[in-house]
Symmetry: C2
Subunit: 170 residues, 2 copies
């Protein structure tokens, strides 16, 4: 199945000069959505995944469906202040300034195998932050896995320590 | 399976006097997560669901996994300005002031059967807004379905036109 036919270009979003890859038509097409989740999970079906970790908001979509498919638990990474229990935090660079993600400090136990997932690999900053959080709480990072990789942004350079898998590449 | 054992009370979150129901231990437990998704989907397995609609951020988790289970498409409802294509908007009341959710105007076609899902039914405002959006773009609303209902907040009163299902009630 050619999944690229379900991804549309939106010019000048979120700001002028950016050509945004809109994956909502892929998510909305039941066959494309199932195909994408199955193809991503196939890469990890023999990897004894304990948890799938996704970051808000769009990252929750792929990660939750993959956790269900893989028979794993789901762990949310959220913006500071959104998680209700004690958290640890990892910062990452934006084009201008910094942002951060948090996970619950008791989300996993040492040695747990955590698949890090997101919809799009762009600059790699958030994926690197998620992987750092998993390692800080003692987990083993699998992936990161992405639905879409924007190869021209070289995000993979921030993820050199990991075994990155991307289903669709531009 | 007693799912309530996987939901913990967090006092004074997000502000003093609120006892927050934290579902992250349920999401993280692979058996509890699978059981919850399966039990919710069982209610709709014969309902020819075309799409499952969830609102950011936490609503994406249940809705995406349920869409995958039901063989349906997934539709995101997002805060204003977050969706890249043309949208329609529904406002809803907060304790102080208003907020809004948007969906893509081309997300569904007339007559499509859309299951509205969220993790928690509290005051019912966002669920009513989501149902309104589905109807405005011509869809048929199934549900809303919730993982948890806080019955003491009477959110069900805002959803009298619908066939609400909640898996866990407090």
């Amino acid at each position: 199945m050619d999944l690229k036919q379900f991804i549309r270009d939106i010019p000048d979003f979120p700001k002028e000069g950016i050509m945004f890859k809109d994956i909502t038509p892929l998510l909305a097409n039941k066959d494309a959505f199932k195909h994408a989740i199955d193809a991503l999970c196939e890469q990890y079906s023999d990897k004894q995944i304990d948890y799938v970790l996704g970051a808000e908001a769009r990252g929750f979509i792929m990660a939750a469906a993959m956790a269900y498919n893989l028979g794993a638990g789901f762990i949310p990474a959220r913006k500071p202040g959104k998680l209700p229990y004690n958290t640890i935090k990892a910062e990452y660079e934006l084009e201008y300034g910094m942002d951060a993600l948090e996970v619950h400090e008791d989300a996993i136990r040492a040695g747990d195998r955590v698949l890090v997932v997101d919809d799009v690999l762009a600059t790699g900053g958030t994926a690197a932050a998620k992987a750092k959080l998993v390692k800080e709480i003692g987990g083993i990072v699998l992936g990161p896995a992405f639905l879409v990789e924007l190869t021209f942004l070289d995000g993979i350079k921030k993820l050199e320590d990991f075994d990155v898998f991307s289903l669709i590449k531009y």
